[in-house]
Amino acid sequence: MSNQPFYDILRRSYATSVPHVGELGIELTRIDGEAAEARLPCKPEFLGDVERQLIHTGVITTLIDSICGIALLAHIGKPTRIATLDLRVDYLRPSRPGKDLVCRAECYRLTEQIAFLRATVWQDDPAAPVASCLAAFMRTGRPGEKSERSGLQ
């Protein structure tokens, strides 16, 4: 846990430097070099289907993209610029309001320029995920470049 100070910086700056995350209400619950986890309490405006009372899958995608980014920064272990190259999300079950969404993301392969991540989202039971995702990110910062543009300072 030698990198705890950096994780603390990430945690503190997350909601303030990523306005949309504060707006949605995403709360980071775990952050270390192995994985990041977060909880998103559902709001009525997250519905995508009023009749069936289902949460819009776009909320889940946004949660995944955010937590993958945090998991990657924590995995790299220092401020850097990253960008999502692609995401593919499978919606395994409908998700319902009244229960939080929980997301866990991890980087399972990191190269000089590219990172591969996977993420799952569940409500009650981690063994019954509502979504799973594979994503590729690019490390866009150049060696020696100042890191302010990562947006997480």
Binding site: S17, V18, P19, H20, V21, E23, P44, E45, F46, L47, G48, D49, V50, E51, R52, L54, I55, H56, T57, G58, V59, T61, T62, L63, I64, D65, S66, G69, A83, T84, L85, D86, L87, R88, V89, D90, Y91, P94, E148, R149, S150, G151, Q153
Partner: protein, 149 residues
């Protein structure tokens, strides 16, 4: 309001408020539907500060771009098909080509395959320059078909 009535208003009077109201998250993002060409609606996401994902650039949150495009595909299906219920997302895949600046975004959709149960939709998102898309995406939706409402 019934979906049929909401769709009629959108198609005939170019008033899509009721149709968007069936998808609260689309309203939350602030989506508009431009029905100038009824055969090719353009989804419009006006910029607002709460959509920012990187305050240093600044850039719109990548997740917002994705959920805008997902919402665009859903609204496109509600407009163009005669579904009685909101289609369910099966999967969604997005390629980010450029960062989305702090400005308005637009999306257009094409249903490339429409089966009895599944629709495949291609989505293109751009900002000031339509020739330089911000992202391309595709999605599968499960249609309600004959399922009783």
């Amino acid at each position: 309001m019934k979906m049929e009535e909401a769709r009629r208003l959108a198609r005939e009077q170019k008033d899509s408020a009721a149709l968007l109201g069936l998808v609260p998250y689309a309203v939350y993002l602030g989506l508009h539907i431009d029905m100038a060409d009824p055969a090719a609606p353009v989804l419009h996401l006006p910029f607002k500060k709460s959509l920012i994902g990187n305050s240093a650039l600044p850039a719109i949150h990548g997740g917002v771009v994705a959920s805008f495009m997902e919402s665009a595909a859903l609204m496109h299906l509600l407009l163009m098909l005669d579904e009685q219920r909101v289609p369910k997302s099966i999967d969604f895949s997005i390629d980010y080509l450029r960062s989305a600046h702090a400005e308005d975004s637009y999306a257009s959709c094409a249903v490339e395959r429409l089966g009895r149960r599944v629709a495949q939709v291609q989505i293109r998102c751009w900002q000031a320059n339509p020739a330089k898309p911000v992202a391309l995406a595709r999605a599968h939706f499960l249609l309600a078909g004959d399922e009783p409402a």
